[in-house]
Subunit: 244 residues, 6 copies
């Protein structure tokens, strides 16, 4: 039994609130338990210079954490004047994960930037961010189509994408770790899959002890179950009306 009463293969309460912002072309407040990430998708015509004339669009992401998202206040990266390695790493992960399901030629020369700002952190912020960002992205793509910016007639999104963290705690593989579990995990893995269940990213790290093939397999099984459930929640959220 886990501290919060969940079964090892159970997700925390996941909530996906679309249209949380008035200005953004797509926006989602995603909650995995107490982890709360605001994902805003900004659709703009045109692409970065190195993409100009390619006929292809671009999707990228920026992840950040508010200073008091965490238990102790951390300094602002804007005040420090530089972005930390962790921030860089997660921003790149989110961008890659989303691009795995985007047909950039169907998008045309348009750019969608996903801003994922962690309002409150309780473990799994990067996986919540990917899961929420996909929904915001879908809304922004729909906005682009509705407003005549996406005109190719092809599907921009080839599939959906969702992510979850898994880890081994006291020898037991567990799904969707909150902070108190995360710090105790011997091995920690973030898994990103498509709606169809294929892998987009697998990032496993031995935090306290190297892991063997059997443990890796158990973690992957657990993760695939989790992202399947998240995929269902994403579709459910996208099926709801967004009256704005």
């Amino acid at each position: 039994m886990r501290a919060d009463g969940r079964a090892p293969d159970q997700l925390r309460d996941v909530r996906i609130t679309r249209g949380w912002l008035d200005h953004a072309e797509g926006s989602v407040l995603v909650e995995f338990g107490r982890t709360r990430v605001l994902c805003a998708a900004s659709f703009t015509e045109g692409v970065p210079r190195w993409k100009k004339g390619s006929g292809e669009g671009w999707v990228t992401a920026e992840y950040a954490m508010l200073p008091r998202a965490t238990n102790d206040r951390s300094s602002r990266e804007s005040v420090k004047g530089k972005i930390g390695g962790r921030t860089h790493e997660i921003s790149r992960l989110i961008g890659r994960s989303l691009r795995a399901v985007v047909d950039v030629s169907a998008l045309g020369e348009n750019t969608i930037v996903l801003d994922c700002d962690v309002l409150q952190a309780d473990g799994g912020t990067r996986t919540a961010a990917i899961t929420g960002a996909y929904v915001a992205l879908a809304d922004a793509v729909a906005w682009g189509a509705r407003h005549g910016h996406v005109t190719g007639g092809k599907q921009v999104l080839t599939d959906s994408v969702a992510a979850v963290s898994v880890g081994i705690i006291d020898g037991t593989p567990m799904l969707d770790l909150p902070y108190v579990e995360d710090v105790r995990a011997e091995t920690d893995m973030n898994v990103v899959t498509t709606g169809a269940g294929a892998f987009v990213e697998v990032q496993g790290t031995a935090e306290h002890a190297p892991f063997d093939r059997a443990e890796l397999d158990a973690l992957l099984d657990l993760a695939v179950g989790g992202t399947a459930e998240l995929t269902r929640l994403q579709l459910e959220a996208l099926a709801r009306d967004l009256d704005r």
Copy 2:
């Protein structure tokens, strides 16, 4: 009649939600219409080096805006590697305004940092930030007292503080400007007052035309009415139970 149907001397709908974050010692989501600012107060023992041994505490603030708080996405200051002048100016204003009602010797050698992050901007973000930050500050001071960090027996907060924007539009002084009014204002003023109605900050700027003494007086009257109402809402919010 204003675009949103308000009378010239009427505030937008103001909502003050305490305890919006789980980790912070004080936290408030403050809304002035569509403007939405998250204010987190972090209480820590100890003071900056230049205050050590003084017996006095320190209260400071940092203001920032999420990239997609605005209609068009703006670049992150952390990515640009430097903080803009506007951000600096507003952070300093919030800090000064709050310190005006803090007895630093009663606070003892403790520091309270107020993080005011604009989640959505529709004019008046700095005045909403000050108004919300005061409530978060009050909760953090209470937390400090409850946890035995504030022991002087004196009141740390000598009064409350609230702020509102006023401006002259087509010759008419108006209270609490949303973005569409703000850009059209000939003169724009931000006024910070104490609960007792005294001035803490008065910042008037001729945006399109210099203003005379009569206009200045009319704006001040309007502002004082507005902050009195905000003071009432702050007290109301602080009177509610915060079950955490």
Copy 3:
């Protein structure tokens, strides 16, 4: 009686020396007592990118302080690699104040940058900077007209602009505060007016105690008297021959 023997409503000795630099299109060494600011106006053809094709010009300002302008040496912002909040705030104030009397369409697509470098600081550096910068600006505009860069036939400068600090010390409102008075002021206000006496900026701050309407009114009266006298000194300076 004040420490330097002045009456409460008396300015310090103000000196405005035009043409202090050989290269700049306009330049002024302005002195308010021991406060000494070098204001250089640089006239260049063309405007920033966001103004291109607008037919309008641009006027902006940068304020800075030499490391040993003050009693204790301060670090160079270039060495620290970032500009402080105070510097940002004052640069923006000077730029806004000057633009209030500039008809940018009469200026045409030209840019005038005002560099205000404090060589020695003894209180009131921002107000001295604005007062001196106006004179340097006037010389740069005249230079632009003489050299055929300003051709619209309209007046570029719609009025003059001057600034002064006022404050309440031991209950008495006083004009043009030197450093020793500034640090003791309960309330500190910087007022910028046009030559015609209208307000451009009013920035009042409760340093040690909130202020009431009567105090505010007394400070405004004092300031308006001070800027009127500064306006006279600016005109006198501009009336002198500048033999270069």
Copy 4:
């Protein structure tokens, strides 16, 4: 058959030259084909502030690339004034990988910094860096023991660590990708294992197409074979005399 004539499960020529630098406590020039990374281990007494008094040591890494390591010259990060996301990400990966085989309490309050500078890049720079850095680390630990800085009597290194890249190209899983293969890979994975064959890091990325469990398994098999061979080469290198 691959462009360079290798079998799919064959490493490039790997050379590990110890003692390439005269000053460093451990140093290795490691070559995976044309990829050439200089790994320098610097042993210093003392630990970062947040580790002081813990009785534990610290091992960290910094990765960088010379401007002309690549086919086209890239700008220096020192000139740009900031470190890119890729650099950050790889530095963190190297540090984590090495720490997985370090008993920090056996190291005592000493710090070892691994500088991995890519002199020439032809794919697999991060895996070459980890493989070479382990050898440099082993030499630095031995230096620390020889000079009486490591005195606990316990083994500092609990195992060895090596890394290799694998990828799927035209449907075939391949080991140790040079640049020309890397850019064509549908899926790209970096795997770090201990000498005992357990996983330390598994980072798989769908570059052009999501991958399924069977592909993941094939890649892991291939990688484990590769790191086993690299482990053998590391031991061989460490068995040679280092006459300095």
Copy 5:
């Protein structure tokens, strides 16, 4: 005959005004013709960390140029967020030159920082800065002695130091080049000597054509004559009363 009517071995009008600032322990406005540099010497007790406990003092310098010191406005290094190579190079040269005549053990654990800010540039700013900075340094050392901070009883300054530029223009070696000559010089040399006539720095650069030994010798002769005259002017300035 030179454009300004000087003989090839003649200095420009040199003016050394001591006590130009009220706050600094030593200050000089030095003018070499139209080149105008403000040198401020700040005396503080204590030394940088790496000198603590050495019993020795430290003397260092920072050189900078106001944006409109030159014919065209240059961007502020504080705004750019970094210091250029030329600024760095000259700051280091000034510091080294002054330290050549300072007995750091006689100074005791005190620091003197020389800020050399170019108010107007017309060639030879670094040599004017060194020449003026020496005089400001002498005043700061005297201040330190008068205020009991320098107590060793030994002479802190072992000699004086002065600097001048020389160059070959159309085949003729010339002393103290203004900007119009500087840009045309085939070879450009900055020479720093002690009052006793020994060399502290010799920096010769072939701007347009390599130079031979005879040319080098002629330039050195010229420079030594120039610095001897500057030494005389420094002594004269220091002999004057400084009534503050």
Copy 6:
């Protein structure tokens, strides 16, 4: 007799290895004893903006040191976020020295960047860098001619350039100082000459005691002998086949 057994006028063992990198248009690993510098010349079509349309090319250099090139590890400038004064100064020196023998109009609108990265430092890194960079530059110019980018028919290189350090140690002038001699030198000079023996740069610094004309003359004699020998070694290296 010197510590390493050399005569006062003898160079260390100098090795110039061309083609050390596979990607660069010219590359040299140059060794002066234990000092080891990797010089990479990158030839690109086009010039910086301020040179566009001039018909002239541009040659520039960047110098840097690996963190563990030195006896104690130094921090990376990329991590610190700024380039130090020494790095700036040496980069500028290398660039100027090379440009002294380049006919930029013969080069056409092409740019050659010389990256000089110190892999190991034992004194004289800047002079080794210049000496090696010239050879890399010559190879890059030849590459440009072979590939049809340099078409003017004129010689791009008007001469060769080499550099050496000299210093006075215990009263004796010595050639090519390793670190142990460098720190003890009373006077330190870096001399850059053309193959024809004319001076390009002469930079003499009194490290511990000012120097007189006789000492300066002795140092120059010694340096000229050293660079003549280096010129011979450069020609020898360039005469060898570079089979790539």
